[in-house]
Structures are given as C-alpha cells and as structure tokens.
C-alpha cells in the first residue's frame, strides 16, 4: 500500500477553516508524549500550560503583552508571504527598530524633553525597521539575491550592533557594568492602560494594525495585487502588476511593523535597551502568520495562542520544572502540523496498492 496525493479540483473551504484546529489538537497530543518522556504528568502539565494562565488577571495581561509584538510582526510577514516574498529577518528588523527608537530616548535622557519624545521614537523605530527590511528587498529586486538568506544574515548583524551599543556608547554609567542603557524617562515610555498593570498602549496599536491589515487585504486594489502576485504570478504579469514593486512594498511594511513592535517592546514592557529584548519574536511571528492562515483576524487569534504558550511555558518552568525549551519545540511542532494540515486543503490523501506485484501477493 502507498499513500498518494490527489489534487482537489477546488480548495476545500471547510478544511481551510478547521485545519488550524486539527493542527493544534495534534500538537497537544504530541506535547503529551513529550511531557511523558520528560517524566511529567501530561494532564497536569497541559493544565499549567493552557488553562492556568487564563485564570488570573495578571497572566491575562501578560498574554496580551506578549501577543502584541507577535501580532504586529505577523501581520507584516503575512503581506510578504502572500506576495511570495520571503522575509524571515523580522527578528533583525525588530531589533533595529528598538535600537533606532532608543537612540532618541538615550539622547533626550534627563533633558526635560516634552511629550513629543515617544511619538518620535515610534516613528523612528518604524522607519528604521522599514529601511532595514528594504536592504534584502532591494538586493532581491535589483540583483536577484535570495531574500531568505540576506534578510536572515541581517538578523545577526542587528544583534551584534545592539550588543555593541549597550556595552559601549549607550551603557548606563550607573548600571554596575551591566550591558544596558539607563531606564527611559517617563516621556520616552509607552504608557500602561491599567493602573499598576503591565498592559500597555502597544496592544491598542496592535489591534489597529490588525484592522488596517484587514482593510488593506480585503478592501483595496493593492491588497488584491499582493494576493494575485503570490497566488498566480503569471496572471499577475498579464494583469500588468509589478511584482518587484510589491516585494519592496511588502518588505517595507513588514519591516516598519517589526521595527515599531521593537521600539514598543523596549519603551514599554522592558523600559530600557539591553541584549535579549526578544525571545525570538521575529521567528515565532512566522508561526503566528501561518497558523493565522495569513489572515489578519486569524493572526490576532494565533498571536494570542502563541503568547499563551510563552506564558504557560514560563509557568510550567516554575511550577513543574519543565525546561523552557519545551515551548520552542512545541512551537516548531505546531508549525509542522499547521503546514501538514494545509496540505489537506489542496490535496486529498488516498491509499493505493503500489504495484501489481503487491496486489497479487496480498491475500
């Protein structure tokens, strides 16, 4: 017997909707096996991972805080991926946005600057992220260099630049030699929404980004062009759509959103610039984009779910001594299942006898 794929005449809409749910179900089943291998009670571990964070206000706020950068980055990435432009350097664009915005915070430190500082920081962060993303985009459009590799190489460069700045010129003199800038002034800080809480204005911005993404994709010609260029490049050429221009545009938007997410993270939950400001948001956002079916509303839900796994993972580490890397394994497995289930939308699986020989041999 052999498993073969048969192309469906049409994409299956029902399966498109339920496939992420099947993927999550399969991932949780696999996760149970991982827990069992680690010698933990799977049911108890699942409860700590997925239920406990939903039961108290503090954790719910933390989920929103973690989901904010994931959703913002993933919306931008989804535009790229829809246009068949493979930006996988969002992590670098996130870091550069954080660095560019922090520059202003560091320069205006203790100068009694007005309330213009934070908006200017956000603009700087977004602009820097967009410019940084345009490097691989231009290399691709102008020279045909693989954007996958160049955007990824720039992640390491951004990481080293950040490291240099906080160990060198921007280091807090009162920081006991820790590689960090001083805490940002209040005017350079993203305000929180709830007194004494951690939920901040960035989450509102993320919701706005989701709405803007939905409008762009669903209601504008540019959104239509992006979809056509990705789904049917030949048709797009006949339609006179400029694929190169869309690569530049989607990279710029996705870089701007990643950069904005970066400066919001630094000026918000972190409060100062230091290495390790991102637990791989740029890479996790790739999973969020796919899990959300490259659709803004889907990404909102997927971002909250992935944020839950981050918070659940931290709690499981404290409560059950489950290593934090389980969360990364979990996210990787989830992406595999999401992609595998996507295969069901385009193909039908069928078992057939592989050859006449096998047929005659079977009783």
């Amino acid at each position: 017997m052999q498993l073969v794929l048969e192309k469906r005449a049409e994409r299956s809409a029902t399966i498109a909707l339920i496939s992420p749910l099947i993927a999550i179900g399969l991932t949780i089943a696999t996760l149970c096996i991982v827990f069992a291998v680690l010698g933990k009670n799977p049911i108890a571990a699942l409860a700590v991972y997925f239920i406990a964070p939903l039961t108290d206000g503090y954790s719910l706020q933390e989920i929103a805080v973690k989901a904010t950068p994931l959703i913002m980055i993933a919306i931008g990435l989804s535009l790229c991926y829809l246009a068949n432009a493979w930006n996988i350097g969002a992590e670098g664009q996130f870091l550069i946005g954080a660095v560019a915005g922090s520059w202003l915070a560091v320069k205006t430190q203790g100068t009694d600057a007005g309330h213009w500082v934070l908006p200017a920081m956000l603009v700087l962060g977004a602009a820097a992220g967009a410019l940084y993303a345009l490097i691989p985009a231009i290399c691709k459009v102008r020279f045909g260099a693989s954007e996958i590799l160049t955007s990824l190489m720039l992640v390491y460069v951004a990481d080293l630049l950040l490291d240099y700045l906080v160990r060198g010129p921007w280091r807090d003199p009162q920081g006991f030699n820790f590689p960090t800038t001083a805490e940002f002034d209040p005017v350079a800080t993203v305000p929180t929404l709830i007194e004494g809480g951690r939920l901040h204005l960035g989450s509102i911005i993320a919701l706005f980004v989701v709405a803007a993404g939905a409008v762009l994709l669903g209601r504008t010609i540019k959104g239509f062009e992006i979809r056509v260029v990705g789904a049917a490049p030949r048709a797009a050429r006949f339609g006179g759509f400029n694929a190169n221009q869309l690569v530049l545009l989607t990279f710029a938007i996705s870089g701007a959103l990643a950069g904005l997410a970066g400066i919001i993270e630094v000026a918000g939950p972190v409060g100062h610039l230091q290495p390790g400001i991102s637990p791989g948001y740029g890479f996790t956002a790739i999973i969020v984009a796919f899990l959300g079916r490259l659709n803004p509303i889907g990404i909102l839900i997927a971002g909250l779910f992935l944020a839950l796994t981050f918070i659940g993972g931290e709690q499981a580490q404290i409560a059950m001594k489950i290593p934090l890397d389980v969360t990364k394994v979990f996210q990787g497995i989830l992406l595999f299942y999401v992609l595998a289930c996507d295969s069901l939308i385009l193909y039908r699986f069928r078992l057939i006898s592989s050859s006449p020989k096998v047929q005659s041999g079977a009783h």
Binding site: I135, V157, L161, V329, G332, L335, F336
Partner: protein, 305 residues
C-alpha cells in the same frame, strides 16, 4: 609554530563545518529540494554529537550520533516536503525552529561538560615538515573527511549514472518521472544525505572545534552553508573555494580582535554575515544570463499516475 601556519590551521578548522553542511545541501538542492532546515539539523547534530561522545567517551560514536540525528531531522522534512507536498521554504524554517528548541532540550544536561576533542593526525616525519607538514598531515579526521566527501560528491554527480539521474530530477522532475525514475525516492535519499552531512557538520563543532557544548553554538553557520551553495553555483569544486574563503573571513575577524586593533569586536564578528550578503549580491548580479540553479529547485512535485 608560526603565525601563518596557525592561521591556516584555524581557517581549515573553521571551514570544515561549512564545507560538510554545504556539501550535503548541494546534493539535496541538485535533486531539486531546497531544505532551509540546515541550521536546525546542524544544531541538533551538535547536541546529539556532544551527548554521544560525552556518554560513550568516543569521538566516532559522537560523530555517528550527530549524523543519525541529522538524518532523523531530515526525515521529518522529507515527510512534509516530499510526502505531503508542503511548501519547502516554510517546512525548512519549521525544521530550524524545531531544531533550536530540541537542541536546547537535549543539550541541557551537557552544558558545562567537557570532552577530549578529536585527536589530530600525526605521521612521524611527514607531520614534522615545516609549514606544509602540519597543514597536510596534522589535522583532525573531520578535515580530511570533508575533503574526501566533496571529492566523492563531485565524482558521484558527474561520473556516475545515479548522479546523472539525481541531477535530472533537479532540473526537470516531470521529464525524469516520465522516463520512469522514482523522483520522490531519489529526492528522499538526497535529503537524507543532506541531513547526515548537516548533522556531522554540527557535531564537528563540539567534537573538534571547541570541546564543549553551548546552546546556539552553530551561530548561523547552517545559513552560511546555504549561501555557499549559491556561491558555488551548485558545483562541488567551487564549494571548496567558497567554504575556505568564508572560514578565512571568520578567522580574520578573530585574529583582528586578538591583535587589538581599534575596531569594536562586534563589528568584526558581523563580518562573515556581511560577507555572505555581499557575495550573494555580487554573484546574483554577475549571473545575468539566467540562473545556474537546478531548474526545479524548491518546486513541489506530485506525481500523477
């Protein structure tokens, strides 16, 4: 030992993991499959390779563990990209994300441990020849293995029938299928070979390059190996040149830091990554007369019956 000799020796060591991983990826890509999971397979290979060597006390067992781990990882990729016809770019990324998590999980127990690194060859007489002796006859086994591997791959691809068929699959899978060749099975073997090489390349790092394991120790070498296949225009001979050039850039920045020149270390450390970008741009620019990549690279193949 003179400085020049020391530099050449360290360039050889720094180039070897790149050459190993890139050779595997070259075969994979020549069969038409783009596996972006090299970094993931390498890092798992590093964790399993170190674990194997530390538990058994044998470098060879460690190297085998790394290879097996790489093959297992590549089988996940093959199941997705070949069996289920999933987009290869996305699957490769998933493999890397999974690999980074897995290596952290596997390697957690070994962090802080040390092993005796792979011994260097010593042939009395030959190894004592000034300069050339140490370089030609005084390296660890992996260095010679990587050279033998790339020569073997060249011979296989250009001098055997099987190599011709493999290249045919990469250039036109529809025709290869029509001629009756099992495209998916050939690609499966190519992907597994790539996995074994990437796993071995990863294992080289804790077994010979540094005698300990730290999480994330591959530091993007898997991605540089991917860039090297582009650099080499998918030809084994150019791969050797490329790998040693990149190894040299890596060592150059280390020596520049050691020499205490006034450039911050982070800028020097970013050199290999910047060099990768520049090389990719220059090469892609030079190739105006059409790409030299295997024509079917990265495209999904679902055989019709």
């Amino acid at each position: 030992m003179g400085l020049i000799e020391a530099i050449i020796l360290s360039v050889l060591a720094a180039s070897t993991p790149l050459l190993l991983a890139a050779t595997g990826e070259l075969v994979t890509e020549r069969s038409g499959v783009l596996n972006l999971g090299v970094e993931g397979m390498m890092i798992v290979g590093a964790a399993c390779g170190f674990g194997g060597a530390w538990l058994s006390g044998s470098i060879i067992v460690g190297a085998l563990c790394g290879m097996v781990a790489g093959i297992l990882m590549s089988l996940i990729f093959a199941l997705m990209a070949l069996g289920l016809a999933v987009n290869q770019v996305a699957t490769g990324l998933a493999l890397t994300i999974l690999g980074i998590g897995l290596s952290g999980l596997i390697g957690a127990g070994f962090v802080g441990e040390r092993i005796t690194p792979a011994p260097h060859l010593r042939i009395p007489g030959l190894s004592d020849i000034p300069l050339a002796g140490r370089i030609l006859f005084g390296e660890d086994g992996f260095v010679y293995l990587s050279i033998a591997l790339v020569v073997g791959v060249w011979w296989f691809l250009y001098r055997t029938r099987a190599g011709l068929i493999l290249r045919a699959c990469g250039d036109n899978h529809v025709s290869a299928h029509a001629l009756g060749y099992p495209v998916l099975r050939i690609r499966l073997y190519a992907v597994m070979f790539g996995g074994a090489c990437a796993g071995l390349a990863g294992a080289y790092l804790p077994l010979a390059y540094t005698p300990f394991f730290i999480p994330g120790m591959t530091a993007g070498r898997g991605w540089i190996a991917l860039a090297l296949t582009v650099f080499a225009s998918w030809r084994p001979a150019r791969l050797v040149v490329g790998a040693y050039l990149f190894g040299a850039v890596t060592i150059l920045q280390l020596h520049a830091q050691g020499a205490g020149i006034g450039i911050p270390s982070q800028f020097m450390s970013s050199l290999p990554y910047l060099a990768t970008i520049i090389v990719l741009v220059l090469l892609s620019r030079a190739r105006t007369g059409g790409s030299t990549a295997p024509a079917a690279l990265g495209t999904v193949f679902v055989p019709d019956r």
